[in-house]
Every structure is written in structure tokens, then in C-alpha cells.
Symmetry: C2
Subunit: 299 residues, 2 copies
């Protein structure tokens, strides 16, 4: 089966490396140069002290035809608009598309996509792009996937097919799945980015832990969670499992890249606004991150 991966950042390269063990994978890159680099070197996957070479084809995004059986969209949420526009201009609309963006703000964009099966996923791996063709897998987690629209058959088959090489977990209900990830991201990402600490500091430092607790109360007050405890435990579990990792938002700040703060905190602030409620702590974190981002300076 042919799989197309749109985006060759850390997550795109990670998926390319693992999925190439089972499928015929093409990654579509933003630049011609990166495609050339990947075609020359293949994708290098570093995990612990191991290094494996994954045979992956690369093409610039301009050459994307949408003909693969499965298309995985692995760009940042703020790059999604241009990808969705491109989707609508493809010679053939891909039949199965899996979106891997953080946050939930992009879900409303998916309704306009005219495809049979639309899946969403949230990635719980730590991955670092070392160079245009090398990715370091430094936090082994899973990828949660669910059907957003269409039939689950294809997605279930895909999960089974890769189960021996790359853990992917099927969920019946996309909303709760995405919400769980969103809450964890909303709490861990901005705090670690502002404090410039590893994820573990948030549970190891009793004062940061108190901030986490207060933030959680604020967030749950606007979301209709059936069992909030489970969401809280999920946050703590992630902090524990990725104790020594730097969050994606911290890495973005350090690399002076745009963060996903709009996708993550922006979505929650919008939700609160719709309900006529306030999220004072989250709003402060939102503007602090926007401010740091706009300075373009690592503190």
C-alpha cells in the first residue's frame, strides 16, 4: 500500500521512518532541497543508541497528486490552511486522510473536505528533527487515532497493519480523545515554554504542580468533562513519561519558530468566550507565549 506523508518535520519524518517498514512511503516536503536530501540519504532514525536507515521517497509538495491509499497530514496547525487549499486542487481527492495536528481549532476546517474517510490523530511521541533527513525518537509513546468522518474499517486495518512496528491506538470517539490531548497540551506546553524547563519539572517542583492544579480547575470549568480525574491523570502521566523531554512549544520557542499557541490555548479561549466565561490564567499564559514568540528571542 502506498502512504503519502505531507510535511517532513519531526513528526512527518518519524512516521515516514516507521511506516516505511510496512508500506511504500512518500514524504512531501516544503522545499526542493529537503526532498533532495532525503532522496540522497533516506531517512535516518535515531532511537537510544540505535540508528536505522528507512527507505523513503521524497518529493516537493508541488508534486503531490493525492494518489496514495492513505494520506497523513503532518504539518503544524497554522500551515493547515494552505494544505487544505491544495487538497481541493488535487487531480484526485485522496480517499483516506489522517490529520495529526495538535489542538482542536482545526476540526472545523475538516468539514469542508470532500473525502470519504477523514481521520484525526494525536501524537504522544517525543521526536526531534536533527537535520533535514534525521529524526531522533526520544520519547516512545503512542498515536491515538479516531474517525472524524466516514468508515472506521480502513483505519482499523491500518492500525493492525502497523502494530508490530509502530504503536497506534484506535479510539471510538474522536472528541474525547482530542480533548484529552488538548488539555495536556494546554497545561504542559505553555508552562514549560515560559519556564524553559523539561516536562518533569512541572510535577517535581511543588509550586509548578500547584500552577498545574489551578490551571486544570480553570480549564475543566469550561469543558463538559464526564470524568475529570481521568484527564488530570493523563496530564500527570505525560509529565512522568516525558520527564526529560522538552515540550514542542519550548522547542519551537528555542528554535525561534512560531508555536502552536493559537491552536492550543486559542481554541480554549474561544470556547470560553462563546460561553461568556473567562480563563484568566490561560489568557495570561497565551499572551506571555505570544509575547515571547514575537520577541523572537530565546531568553
Amino acid at each position: 500500500m502506498r502512504v503519502g506523508i505531507i510535511g517532513a518535520g519531526s513528526i512527518g519524518l518519524l512516521f515516514a521512518a516507521y511506516l516505511s517498514r510496512v508500506f511504500d512511503v512518500t514524504v512531501y516536503t516544503r522545499s526542493q532541497e529537503q526532498a533532495a536530501e532525503i532522496n540522497q540519504h533516506n531517512v535516518l532514525l535515531q532511537s537510544g543508541t540505535e540508528e536505522t536507515i528507512a527507505k523513503v521517497k521524497a518529493l516537493p509538495i508541488a508534486d503531490w497528486q493525492g494518489s496514495e491509499a492513505l494520506t497523513i497530514i503532518a504539518v503544524k496547525q497554522y500551515q493547515l490552511f494552505s494544505i487544505i487549499e491544495r487538497l481541493s486542487q488535487l487531480p484526485s481527492m485522496p480517499e483516506n486522510i489522517l490529520f495529526l495536528q495538535n489542538g482542536m481549532g482545526h476540526l472545523k476546517l475538516l468539514d469542508d473536505i470532500n473525502t470519504s474517510n477523514l481521520f484525526v490523530g494525536s501524537v504522544e511521541h517525543g521526536a526531534l528533527k536533527e537535520n533535514p533527513y534525521t529524526v531522533r525518537h526520544n520519547g516512545i509513546g503512542t498515536t491515538n487515532v479516531a474517525v472524524y468522518k466516514g468508515d472506521p474499517g480502513f483505519l482499523k486495518m491500518f492500525v493492525l497493519a502497523v502494530s508490530n512496528v509502530f504503536p497506534i491506538t484506535f479510539h471510538e470517539e474522536y472528541f474525547a480523545m482530542m480533548e484529552k490531548k488538548l488539555i495536556a497540551n494546554a497545561m504542559i506546553n505553555p508552562l514549560t515554554a515560559i519556564l524553559q524547563v523539561n516536562n518533569g519539572a512541572l510535577i517535581d517542583n511543588p509550586f509548578y504542580y500547584k500552577v498545574l492544579q489551578n490551571l486544570f480547575s480553570e480549564i475543566t470549568a469550561i469543558l463538559n468533562l464526564e470524568h475529570p480525574e481521568g484527564y488530570w491523570e493523563h496530564v500527570i502521566k505525560i509529565c512522568k513519561k516525558t520527564r526529560d523531554n522538552r515540550s514542542s512549544m519550548l522547542k519551537d520557542i528555542e528554535a525561534k519558530r512560531l508555536t502552536e499557541v493559537d491552536a492550543i490555548l486559542g481554541y480554549l479561549l474561544e470556547e470560553a468566550n462563546k460561553q461568556g466565561k473567562k480563563l484568566p490564567q490561560l489568557e495570561t499564559l497565551y499572551y506571555l507565549i505570544k509575547g515571547i514568540e514575537s520577541q523572537g528571542v530565546v531568553i
Copy 2:
């Protein structure tokens, strides 16, 4: 007239340097070593490119007798407990005492001090202690003073006497004066310390400015301010005037010293608590600073 200054940090040295032009000044230091250094070198005052030597006597705090006409307490708020205890053990209680601590939490401690005239002040200078006997005056402001208890006569005379060498501004009403400083400190100090930016960044960066505005709304909701605009303008004025300065809290964090977060934010959180109200943003900042402090690590 003899003036005693308790504490030879940046503010103690700054006052010693200027007041020694008019009065006979003794500074009382925590350590024997610092007293010896000051007695050997005098106090060196750096201001712009100028450097002046100020003739100042130094004694270790153990030798404090309380016999000076005016005693200025220039220690951090969290060092005040031991100073007040020492006060009660002095052979003679000083007649005129001026307290220069940040925050307002210490005011309740002053009621127990059995002296004739008790004054409070808030310092709006930028000063950096370069070594045990050298202070850099890098932000020229004023010192606001007011009577906390007793007669204003002595304080007014003092303000006049120093007016040619060191600006000190007399205020009729201590509470509003202290509150103004407290609000500015509560907003500028934690934000600059967390973000590790100069004071000017808070007004130059539109996102940080938004955080300032939100914080101000939160604070004014629990204080009974007659004209909030004046307090807001004061904050903005300080950010402008000390644009290139690092706040005292940021300097404390950088030097891995204890900050005055309890004196500043702790007081406001306690006030809110008494009123059964919440200060979610301020509480987040409070715990972030406590967390950074407890890491003892500059980020």
C-alpha cells in the same frame, strides 16, 4: 546629625553614599567582612560615567546601639523579623525610624515597635551593588516617604535637608503611597522575572502590555482605589523611566537570591483571601516565582 543605615545591600549603600554628603552616616552590615571592606574603601558610588567616594563608617549589625537621630532600615522584607527583634533589645530605642521595604505585608509588624516616630518609604531608584562597597546608581528616581506613626516634623526637616543631594518626596498619606508602589511591584517584578526581560519590554511588547492590563484589572478588583487611572499611569511611567533596567525580582532570581514575592504578591493574595475573592493570574505568577526561586537555577 547622625544617621544609621541598617543593611548594606544596593539600597543601603545608595542611601549611605548620598546622605553622607549631608549627615554623619554609619551603615550596619550583616558581616564583619563587609564592614571592614567599607571602612577600608569607603562607599564607591557610580552614576553614569562618574565615580565618587562617599565617606561612610561601617559596623557589623552586632554593634548597633540605636543611638542615631535617624535610623533607616534598608533590609529586605524577609529580613525584617530579625531586625525588629533586635530593635526591641537595643539599649535605647531609636527615636526616628524609616522603613524602606517593598510590599505592604510588613506594615502590620510596625505597630508593635515602641518608638516616637515611625516613617515608611518606597524607593524608586535603580541601584546595583557591584561589590561589598560599590553601588551603581543606574536609574534616578525618587524616594517616597510618609509618616506611619508619630509627628511629621522630623521627616519634613529631613526631606528638606537632603533635597539638594538626593530627591525625597514627602507624602501626607502613607497607605495610598505604599499601595501605588505595591501595585507597580506586583505587576512589573514577577513578569520581568519570569520572562527575564528589562522593564521596558512590558510596555514595548503589545502582548506583554495586554498581560499588564489584565493583571491591573484583577488587582484593582480587590483594592479600593479612588482613581485607578493614576495607579495605572504610575505603572506605565515606571516601565518607561526604568526601560533598560532589570527589576529587583529579576536580579534576585539571576543572583539565585530569595525574592520579595511574599511581600509583594503574598500580601495581595492574602487581601483577596480575606475578602473571599480570587486572584487567579496573580496566584499563577506567585507560584511560578516560588517555583523558579526553589529551583535555585537561572533559566
